[in-house]
Symmetry: none
Subunit: 250 residues, 2 copies
């Protein structure tokens, strides 16, 4: 695993949890303690986090925001392009599943108004969906702090009540060996189950995501499509050669 990949994972974890233990990162990245320590030192030098005894903590204050805001706004337009295309796939009468996550949430604004039913595990999706007058179901389960997603046994059991025409999944990374990845195993289980209940699965991923726990081997998704923006080289294309890939351009 490449160094910047690990760094991404660490920062993502921190964003969700405020505090991460070294032990935790070791397990997730399958690397040694030494390596993680070096990573944390580097990230601390770059002012991305603060090292603490036993791990690292997010540094709160002004220094954090500019980089994050900058990044999100830079990616936002690309996310919207992807989201808009994904939304165009939804047809009248469809029952669709929307995964929690920032890319998927952008779909809501572009969804057609006609007679669709949406099921989701994303808390933040509810308000905009209801605003559009769309029939909205939330699956139950344990509320996961900071990500506002629902996971766990309750979530899985609730999912069993539904069948979907299409599901749209967010993703943290795409890895040639592990498939689609996310840093939280519980979340991975929910994604996995939703996919299994859906006739077609679509994965929304901007091209920064091609670089954590896998929730589905690419080959396991039968009718999967990855919707992304421009890929920079052929190396990335090899990751997705077993699925349809739709590249959205400006």
């Amino acid at each position: 695993m490449l160094t910047p990949e690990r760094h991404q994972i660490i920062l993502r974890l921190l964003k969700e949890k405020n505090v991460v233990k070294i032990q935790e990162i070791m397990e997730l990245t399958d690397t040694s303690e030494s390596t993680i320590r070096r990573d944390l030192s580097q990230l601390e030098d770059q002012k991305f986090l603060k090292r603490i005894h036993g791990g690292a903590s997010r540094l709160q204050g002004k220094l954090q925001e500019p980089s994050m805001v900058e990044k999100s706004s830079k990616n936002l337009q690309e996310k919207r392009m992807i989201a808009q295309y994904a939304a165009s796939l939804v047809e009248a009468g469809d029952c669709i599943y929307l995964d929690a996550g920032s890319t998927v949430i952008e779909m809501i604004g572009y969804l057609p108004l006609k007679e669709i039913v949406v099921v989701t595990n994303g808390l933040m999706h509810i308000a905009p969906l209801l605003n559009k007058g769309i029939s909205t179901y939330l699956i139950g389960g344990l509320a996961k702090p900071n990500t506002n997603a629902f996971i766990g046994r309750g979530a899985l059991a609730s999912l069993d009540l539904y069948r979907f025409d299409k599901c749209f999944m967010g993703v943290n990374g795409i890895h040639p060996q592990f498939g689609f990845t996310t840093p939280d195993q519980e979340e991975a289980l929910v994604k996995q189950k939703a996919i299994s209940l859906s006739r077609e699965a679509f994965v929304l991923a901007d091209n920064t995501k091609f670089a954590e726990i896998s929730f589905a081997k690419i080959s396991e998704i039968h009718e999967a499509s990855i919707i992304t923006n421009e890929l920079e080289d052929e190396t990335e294309k090899q990751y997705v050669n077993r699925t349809t890939i739709k590249v959205v351009t400006a």
Copy 2:
């Protein structure tokens, strides 16, 4: 448990209660007295709190939170009194159900922080519960516009996964013949089911509510209590003669 996590917990406790005992923190964090003492010393050095005999107290000054900003509504204060009393019934280790609704939501601020699990069907409850660091489960189901409650088949099925020590229900009205009432049948079904899964049921009702579809005949609730503020006459008391009634006064 990492040091900053404990510090977070301590500060959160202080934010709620102004004063916190060492004993209390020990139980909540499952650490020794020595450790908590050290934590308190550090936090005092950082000017986050003031140590006092037996624990710590919030230092009053600039950093005060605007906790009682919204005293405006007369009804709100009565709701809060009722909610505060109801919250005081919750004990460490309890698994409780919180009904959607404006009176019940006021309970959240008064809930004890120790090791409780909350299950709810109220969308608006999630954020404040997570803010307090409480383990929070949402039942699934159809999102009902405007009330932000979850109802329907999915909600009922999700409920089946849980058992509650106590449940706290909002109510629209109390009627001598029909019992507790609510205008939406679907919501009534959810309330009914939650009550049936709970060892004890509490109904929160300010006295304006005494006069729609019943979700439970009063006699059907075995261990029910109504928590209300002052009742104005005996007529109203007759409504509740088959249950415990707790009248909260200022």
